[in-house]
């Protein structure tokens, strides 16, 4: 058992204990950052995705212990107080949200995508979501939301 620190949304959190604990478990159970959801725990639904050093990563498949020098972003850190991030606005406006369980991960995946590619094609958008399941929307509005977000962020 060793204590270590994780940088999440710009804050340093002291993590106590188990070096094998998944980042998802740490976020949800230790830090009460419950925006990351657990849909399968086997890395196939993508509802637990967060951004680690700019990349969208499934937090159930990584150990927190290994991320001591990383910059972790979760959905809780995306809005600036009451001001939503343009991607969040886009998801709401496009109606890309139904039950909402996949939404935080979808939004963070979008952020990671748009950071790297300001003008993704529809094919690139769909490929970026290959590890994010959604059972409500058929992905149509989610793809629309990404296009709208790209526009809001100055791309497209």
């Amino acid at each position: 058992m060793e204590n270590y620190y994780l940088n999440i949304n710009g804050n340093n959190y002291k993590i106590i204990g188990d070096e094998n604990e998944s980042l998802l478990n740490i976020l949800r159970e230790k830090l009460n950052l419950t925006g990351a959801k657990c849909g399968c725990e086997t890395g196939t639904c993508g509802t637990c995705k967060v951004i680690i050093d700019g990349k969208a990563v499934k937090s159930c498949r990584v150990r927190g212990f290994d991320l001591q020098n990383s910059k972790i972003e979760t959905i809780e850190g995306l809005a600036d107080g009451y001001k939503l991030h343009p991607i969040q606005e886009a998801f709401i406006e496009a109606g890309a949200i139904q039950c909402g369980f996949c939404t935080p991960a979808m939004i963070l995946t979008t952020k990671a995508l748009l950071n790297e590619n300001k003008n993704p094609t529809e094919e690139e958008i769909r490929f970026a979501f290959r590890e994010n399941l959604c059972r409500c929307t058929g992905y149509v509005q989610i793809v629309e939301a990404v296009k709208l977000a790209a526009k809001k962020l100055g791309g497209m």
Partner: protein, 742 residues
């Protein structure tokens, strides 16, 4: 008057919470002193539990209680119960002494940590006496099959009849007889089943659960735990997808009994594997369908026989079969139509409610056969549909009652235009591919009118600042049903939907609702919202007439205004304050609304596929869905529902299935192996709503959510048939490359 809110797209009302991660789902919640519950499931498909040894498990640090089939109530219940006096077979118990499928519950542990609970569950030793198991529905239906429940495996049959089928067949030019088979599938809601039960020293039980029917769950819990209703509070704070999968009670009694044993709150959240194996599936079925047609293509007689696989317990098998038996009378002008269905027990997971509720099964069989008939008679499939489709003034042949205003012909015409049916049906596939187009009609009801009581009560309060608060028993599963209620209220009261706050699905706080199923959201619950708002409006207008001394008042932009003299106006806020000050009376109304008619929503889907000759792999390349949902109240939500329904329908058609080994153990119990379509695998989708209007629907509206899924699988099947000429009679559709190159 022109509507301001109705017909406009509004995002789901709690979108902002969901977009920021602030929406609290049940598994996100913790209570002080909370324990974690873990369930032990049967590893065999059929057998008697001889003994359970918990000695080692109890020694695990942090374990507080172990509930088993030997130390908990054995009161039988039906997880699909809907209301207090609902008469359906009670076959389940909290834990089973006779296990009937791999995944049946036999025990559960409550411990201070999840790790301890898991460790302890693995140390429980169960001794079984194995019994013969049967997985095939036709095998199980045989007279000599080993009985899964006393009385045998075949439950009572459901029959429905119109005209004289034998006479009809005698007049037929040709008769077609086919056997179709559909598989069990899972709802695949991304949020696994989850609940927290809290039993307290005052003999109260509070359960937070991701469920679709708080009032029914309260009744079942009161039966099992022998508690009065006022001592049980069921709350659904939010649902991360459901699709019928959280309509029937699964884990709540386990959490409740563990909490009762420990006097501490207990959370039970399933893993994905557990959701697949131990919750509910869509009913698998074997369907025999015999159809007699005239030379013109007109169907003269149809005879349908279904064996519905209910799995190991009765659950909702009668309701699903009953619903299914109604729907087949709503689409065509078939004068002679006979239906017989029997639910059959097998040793596979329990079948239950799932989006479509019987419709996906029966329309798959009927519409697949239509594809075959069209080809055999050399009539274009769309034309064949037009010859038989029910007309807007058509009647249900069984009761000779009006169907309402079905716009099937409009769907056929506009859908084939958008899809470009005429052009696409002549396309020849590129080298190495076979190209095909197919289409199908589907239908689904709006509520349960005629089957049993179908009402909801709502309370609506006018606040001092002119805003309102709705107390509603509706559980929004993400489909926007509560958003829709706020639209209805806003339209009536001349305010915007954001001026309507809601308190939802809490048995202590909101009036009774039947539950969120059967596509009641718009037609029944939406209409109820309109109605309760109209009642509030009458109170508001009454007071305004007193204040403004005029009778010609309308509600607009938060004011009550005289139509003849616009200077005579008063805000809703001032009226609420006036009532408080002058009348010392609250402006709150309660209203019950019952369903008015058994109306139906319709959908026509078109699919274009390529079948790879080398592999037999099927790729859907374009898809058009055209629906009659009456007047579309929220186009954004309706389109969302339709797209999601198509996604689910494509999975049903091509990829999703329960694969069992010879012992009845599901072998593809993960999202990795149970294939739901991902974003890059989806075809291009076009959706369209025809201009419809339902006389009895609120503002002319009808439902969409369930109907959306129904025509998908047969549309795909007919396209694959068109491409390959191979008759496929089973879902999910698979093409053997050997058959392809014959």
């Amino acid at each position: 008057m022109k509507e301001k809110i109705i017909g406009k797209g509004y995002p789901i009302r709690d979108s902002i919470l969901k977009a920021t991660g602030h929406k609290i789902y049940v598994d996100d919640m913790k209570f002080p002193n909370m324990l974690y519950g873990k369930i032990l499931y049967s590893t065999i498909a059929h057998g008697k539990v001889k003994s359970i040894d918990t000695t080692e498990a109890m020694k695990v640090e942090g374990v507080k209680a172990i509930a088993t089939c030997f130390n908990t109530p054995h009161i039988k219940y039906n997880s699909a119960l809907r209301f207090y006096d609902h008469d359906i077979p009670f076959t389940e118990t909290i834990f089973s002494k006779t296990v009937r499928f791999v995944g049946d519950r036999v025990a559960a542990v409550a411990a201070e940590t999840m790790e301890a609970a898991e460790k302890a569950v693995n140390l429980i030793k169960v001794e079984y006496e194995e019994l013969p198991a049967v997985f095939d529905v036709e095998e199980a239906a045989k007279e000599n099959a080993y009985p899964i429940h006393p009385g045998g495996n075949v439950l009572n049959e459901i029959k429905a009849n119109a005209g004289d089928v034998e006479k009809g067949f005698a007049q037929a030019y040709k008769i077609y007889e086919d056997r179709y088979e559909v598989q069990p599938v899972n709802h695949g809601a991304l949020e696994p089943h989850t609940c927290i039960a809290q039993y307290t020293i005052d003999n109260r039980l509070t359960v937070h659960s991701s469920c679709q029917n708080v009032f029914a769950f309260r009744v079942i819990l009161s039966q099992i735990l022998e508690m009065p209703l006022h001592k049980i509070r069921m709350i659904t704070p939010s649902i991360g997808g459901s699709f019928g999968g959280k309509l029937e009670m699964t884990i709540e009694p386990v959490a409740a009994i563990l909490s009762k044993m420990t006097m501490q709150p207990v959370k039970v959240t399933l893993t994905r594997k557990e959701v697949f194996k131990s919750t509910r599936t869509r009913h698998a079925a074997v369907m025999y369908i015999k159809t007699g047609v005239k030379e013109s293509g007109e169907i003269i007689a149809q005879d349908i026989n279904i064996l519905l696989n209910t799995g190991s317990y009765a659950s909702s098998c009668y309701n699903v079969l009953g619903a299914l038996s109604h729907k087949i009378y709503k689409v065509y002008k078939i004068p002679n139509l006979r239906f017989r269905g029997v639910p059959v027990y097998t040793n596979i997971p329990i079948a239950g409610a799932m989006r479509g509720y019987g419709s996906p099964q029966i329309f798959f069989a009927q519409q697949a056969q239509m594809g075959k008939i069209a080809k055999d008679l050399n009539i274009d499939l769309v034309e064949l549909q037009k010859i038989n489709a029910a007309l807007p003034d058509g009647v249900d042949q069984r009761f000779n009652s009006p169907l309402g205003n079905p716009r099937i012909l409009d769907c056929l015409n506009e859908g084939s235009e958008i899809f470009q049916w005429e052009r696409k049906k002549n396309i020849v596939g590129e080298k190495g591919y076979k190209h095909g187009v197919g289409m199908a009609i589907g239908a689904h009801g709006n509520g349960v009118f005629g089957a049993h009581r179908d009402y909801i009560s709502l309370a609506l309060k006018l606040n001092e600042d002119g805003t309102t608060t709705l107390l509603t028993g509706v559980h929004d599963m993400g489909n926007g049903s509560v958003t829709l209620q706020t639209q209805m209220i806003a339209e009536v009261l001349g305010i915007t939907p954001d001026k309507v706050e809601t308190l939802e699905a809490d048995t202590d706080a909101v009036p009774w609702n039947l539950g969120d199923y059967a596509s009641r959201g718009l037609y029944v619950e939406g209409a109820a919202a309109k109605r309760v708002a109209e009642k509030l409006k009458r109170k508001i207008v009454e007071l305004a007439e007193e204040i403004l001394k005029t009778k010609d008042l309308i509600l607009e932009d938060g004011y009550v205004v005289s139509q003849s003299d616009s200077s005579k106006k008063i805000s809703l806020s001032d009226i609420a304050v006036y009532s408080q000050k002058e009348k010392e009376a609250e402006i709150t109304v309660v209203e019950s609304h019952r369903s008015e008619a058994g109306i139906t929503s319709y959908g026509v889907h078109f699919a274009e596929v390529l079948v790879e000759e080398e592999t037999g792999k099927i790729k859907v390349i374009s898809y058009t869905a055209c629906h009659d949902s009456g007047k579309v109240i929220n186009p954004l939500a309706a389109t969302n529902q339709l797209d999601g329904g198509i996604h689910m329908g494509l999975g049903y058609a091509l990829t999703e299935d329960y694969v069992f080994d010879e012992k009845g153990n599901m072998t593809n119990d993960s999202f990795g192996s149970y294939k739901m379509f991902r974003a890059h695998e989806m075809p291009e989708i076009k959706t369209h709503f025809v201009k419809g209007f339902e006389e009895t629907g609120p503002y002319g509206g009808k439902s969409i959510g369930e109907c959306a899924v129904v025509p998908a699988a047969p549309a795909i099947l007919n396209a694959v048939y068109d491409a390959t000429g191979i008759e496929i009679k089973k879902l999910p559709i698979k093409i053997n490359k050997e058959d392809l190159n014959d």
